[in-house]
């Protein structure tokens, strides 16, 4: 597992991935690798805890979009919580919020996704 991913857990059939550090090409690929593997195992709902990811670039966002496209094909969903304001703003500008959801906490995310 990449050092960017610090934990993977399952809550109510939802896969929760915790990240740490720069969400760039490397970070994005680390997430996609896990998500695709879990999709193959039948999972369709994913949450990313981004409490320790304070910075993200557009390549990282592109990879998230690729993941969303893949999830759309299996009728899955992607959500995020614990976002730093700057990350939240970047996701909004890049249009990510149109296809995935930002949550304030894990509890809300698990209940609402």
């Amino acid at each position: 597992m990449s050092s960017f991913i610090t934990s993977i857990k399952e809550n109510n059939s939802i896969i929760i991935i915790e990240t740490n550090g720069y969400l760039n090409n490397t970070g994005g690929e680390a997430i996609s690798e896990i998500v695709y593997e879990k999709i193959d195992q039948g999972h369709t709902k994913f949450l990313i805890n981004m409490g320790n990811t304070k910075i993200v670039n557009s390549i990282g966002v592109s990879i998230l979009i690729e993941i969303i496209e893949k999830l759309q094909s299996v009728d899955g969903k992607l959500g995020y919580y614990n976002l730093a304001p700057i990350v939240s703003k970047t996701f909004t500008i890049m249009g990510l919020t149109k296809y995935s959801t930002l949550f304030e906490s894990e509890e809300l995310a698990v209940n609402e996704i």
């Binding site: 760039n24 090409n25 557009s58 390549i59 592109s62 890049m94 249009g95």
Partner: protein, 713 residues
């Protein structure tokens, strides 16, 4: 069917603009440079899709940039790299002030990072290069790619904003420093100072004033001066007058009464004005006169009484700030003190230095020198400050000579106590200096600076142990006195001076004593005067003792100077035989005193020599290491293979007056050998065994004699 999702160029541009705006908005909220740099770097990396980056930032004291922030990069790969403003890519951005993008080549600063592409933008502090934002490897979904022109433009814009924010923080830091500086100045000055505002409230007070006013600082600040000085009419009138008339008023010897404490002060009240000469309040200075006596006694630790009195009589001599004047500067430095102190405990080092300094400082004050500094084992002494005197250079040279002569006696005591001698080199120069209060906000020193001071220090560095080196400037001021002996030395090249400097060595008693000449004179005297019937105390005995003292002293690790002194004593120890065997040591001492004085041997060392001579008187009674060595050398033959020859020479000499039978001679020798002991480890190791063999032989012979005698009876 999945929706087609894409990030449009417009969105990216929007993100770039938002980031730039964020940076612009946020930059002024940072108060610390490291936090600012990290924020700029992280945002730059993110918006330009750089995989990593760092910010190089100026070092105030050099032309080198240091890593001020790093992101997603192993900076250990850059360890040891000097980011010189005048070299490589940093030089390029320093000169062009433009952002550069390039592929990292082998000769680039960043080659060790394993990054491929670099985008570097100058961070400018006004027009000066303050640093650089460096981004590495633009990311794409296909891997990394070079940065493009639009990235350069974006980073230039970020760097430009960052430069402004950096300058702002620096400015704030400078203001804080200036404020702290003013506060330090205020707090460090020995005069009590407080200021009042237009309302008459005290808004600043320094430590000394708090002490004089005898209140807590919290009580003083914000209180009206009328309350603070309610029972001190005189100062109230002075402050009031200053407020009303905007003039400086002062009063001497004013008694301030606070509770039970009375303090005598000189008061000066001045109007506090702004740049437009509008009143802001008053500034009140209180000079505590009760400290004068304390000051006087403290001052006397640094300068002679005469100088203290001069200063107190004429305060103008100590005007603040620099003033140019003539002065003579003496530097002295212990040679090899580091190696000397290596074998000492810290306490011994301190004790030795204190002992040394006490003796030297006494001499410095005797000649009206001002002890300017003690730096480690170095002394800096000034003559002619604050008031120059025609005798300054003479006094400095006299100090130097007396210091060196005093050290000879000082070292004599040390050698006797088996301690290594302390030797100093001294440099003296005279010339124009700037004198005044020089230092920092925390500490100010009254001192002198200038080329003349530097040269004095360099002359000291050039002086060998025991040497006094003076410049021509000093020599020109003392040569007319015709009291100093000097020797011209080869001119020296001094750092920072184009021309070589002519120097002289001042000669003094002791340093120039010619031991070989003394040995030759004593030997010649012995050859001429020693009666030939001395078959034991012949010239051979003297030569043998001299040879043995040298051998033993070397083994006992005595230094060269010490060996010369012991050899001198060896040449002199039995000279008294010329006037007969009775009390010959005392006669030797008398002769030694005469000849050594004639030859200008240091007076302080004559007792060292005579002590060694007297130690050889039977029974030997050495009181120190040197005396032990000469005693062992004097009877070295007792444990040598030539014992028989030398002992028969002694017998012959003794038989001049009366015949000694073989039996009696054996008895005399047995008694002598039994009572004798060597003192030094060297002799105990090399001679004792042989001596004991000799004793056994003699005792065996005596037994044979006894047996023969008994059988005859």
């Amino acid at each position: 069917m999945a929706k087609e999702l894409n990030i449009s160029d417009l969105q990216l541009k929007y993100l770039e603009l938002e980031t730039l705006l964020d940076i612009t908005n946020d930059l002024n909220s940072f108060e610390e440079i490291p936090v600012l740099l990290q924020e700029i770097l992280v945002k730059s990396c993110a918006v330009l899709n750089a995989s990593s980056g760092l910010i190089l930032i100026e070092d105030d004291n050099s032309n080198v940039l240091n890593i001020g922030a790093d992101f997603n990069i192993d900076i250990s790969a850059l360890n040891g790299i000097i980011f010189n403003k005048n070299k490589g890519v940093i030089k390029e951005i320093n000169q062009s002030r433009k952002t550069l993008c390039f592929k990292i080549s082998q000769d680039n600063y960043f080659y060790g990072t394993n990054c491929v592409y670099c985008l570097i933008a100058p961070l400018l502090d006004k027009q000066k290069l303050a640093g650089a934002i460096v981004l590495f490897d633009k990311e794409s979904r296909k891997g990394i790619s070079p940065f493009i022109d639009s990235d350069s433009n974006m980073l230039s814009a970020i760097a430009s904003q960052a430069g402004i924010a950096y300058n702002n923080i620096k400015l704030i830091e400078n203001i804080k420093e200036a404020k702290a500086f003013n506060e330090n100045v205020m707090q460090s000055i020995a005069t009590g100072v407080f200021t009042t505002n237009l309302m008459g409230e005290i808004n600043h007070v320094n430590r000394t004033a708090v002490s004089i006013l005898n209140f807590d600082k919290e009580y003083i600040i914000g209180n009206h001066y009328g309350y603070i000085f309610e029972s001190n009419e005189q100062i109230l009138e002075l402050i009031s007058k200053c407020e009303l008339e905007s003039i400086t008023v002062s009063e001497s010897q004013v008694q301030l009464q606070f509770d039970d404490k009375t303090t005598t002060v000189n008061i000066s009240v001045s109007p506090l004005l702004n740049d437009f000469n509008q009143p802001l309040g008053t500034v009140v200075a209180l000079e505590d006169l009760s400290n004068i006596n304390k000051l006087k006694s403290t001052f006397k630790k640094y300068v002679s009484n005469q100088i203290v009195d001069q200063l107190l009589e004429n305060e103008d001599l100590l005007s603040l700030g620099g003033q140019e004047q003539d002065a003579t500067i003496l530097f002295s430095d212990i040679r090899g003190f580091t190696s000397l102190s290596e074998n000492m405990t810290p306490n011994e080092v301190v004790e030795t230095l204190n002992d040394y300094f006490n003796q030297m400082i006494e001499i410095i004050f005797k000649y009206n020198g001002i002890l300017d500094k003690i730096i480690g084992d170095e002394l800096m002494v000034i003559y002619g400050v604050p008031k120059s005197n025609i005798q300054d250079s003479e006094n400095a040279v006299l100090t130097a000579i007396e210091m060196q002569e005093k050290l000879i006696a000082f070292n004599q005591d040390r050698c006797i106590n088996l301690k290594k001698p302390i030797k100093v080199g001294i440099g003296v120069n005279s010339g124009s200096v700037i004198s005044g209060n020089i230092g920092s906000t925390d500490q100010m020193d009254f001192t002198v600076i200038g080329d003349s001071v530097n040269l004095a220090s360099r002359l000291c560095s050039s002086a060998e142990a025991g040497q006094i080196i003076i410049s021509d400037a000093v020599w020109n001021k003392i040569k007319h006195l015709q009291t100093f002996k000097s020797k011209k030395l080869s001119p020296i090249k001094v750092k920072g001076k184009a021309k070589v400097i002519s120097i002289k060595e001042i000669l003094y008693n002791g340093y120039e004593f010619d031991y070989q000449d003394a040995f030759n004179k004593v030997e010649a005297f012995l050859l001429k005067e020693l009666p030939l019937y001395y078959t034991y105390h012949s010239i051979e005995h003297f030569r043998d003792v001299v040879k043995q003292v040298e051998r033993i002293a070397k083994k006992e690790k005595i230094d060269k100077a010490g060996i010369l002194d012991i050899k001198l004593a060896a040449w002199l120890h039995d000279v008294g035989y010329i006037w007969g065997p009775l009390d010959h040591e005392e006669k030797s001492v008398e002769y030694a005193k005469v000849i050594l004085n004639e030859m200008k041997f240091p007076k302080s060392k004559i007792s060292l020599i005579t002590g060694m001579i007297m130690a050889t008187k039977m029974p030997q009674s050495p009181k120190n290491h040197f005396e032990q060595i000469i005693c062992d050398a004097d009877l070295d033959y007792l444990g040598r293979n030539d014992f028989e020859d030398i002992s028969s020479n002694l017998l012959k000499e003794l038989e001049i007056n009366q015949k000694i039978t073989n039996f009696n001679w054996l008895k005399i020798q047995e008694k002598f050998l039994k009572s004798h002991s060597y003192f030094t480890l060297t002799s105990l190791k090399s001679r004792e065994k042989n001596k004991q063999k000799r004793l056994t032989n003699i005792q065996d012979l005596l037994k044979t004699y006894e047996a023969t005698r008994t059988s005859r009876k």
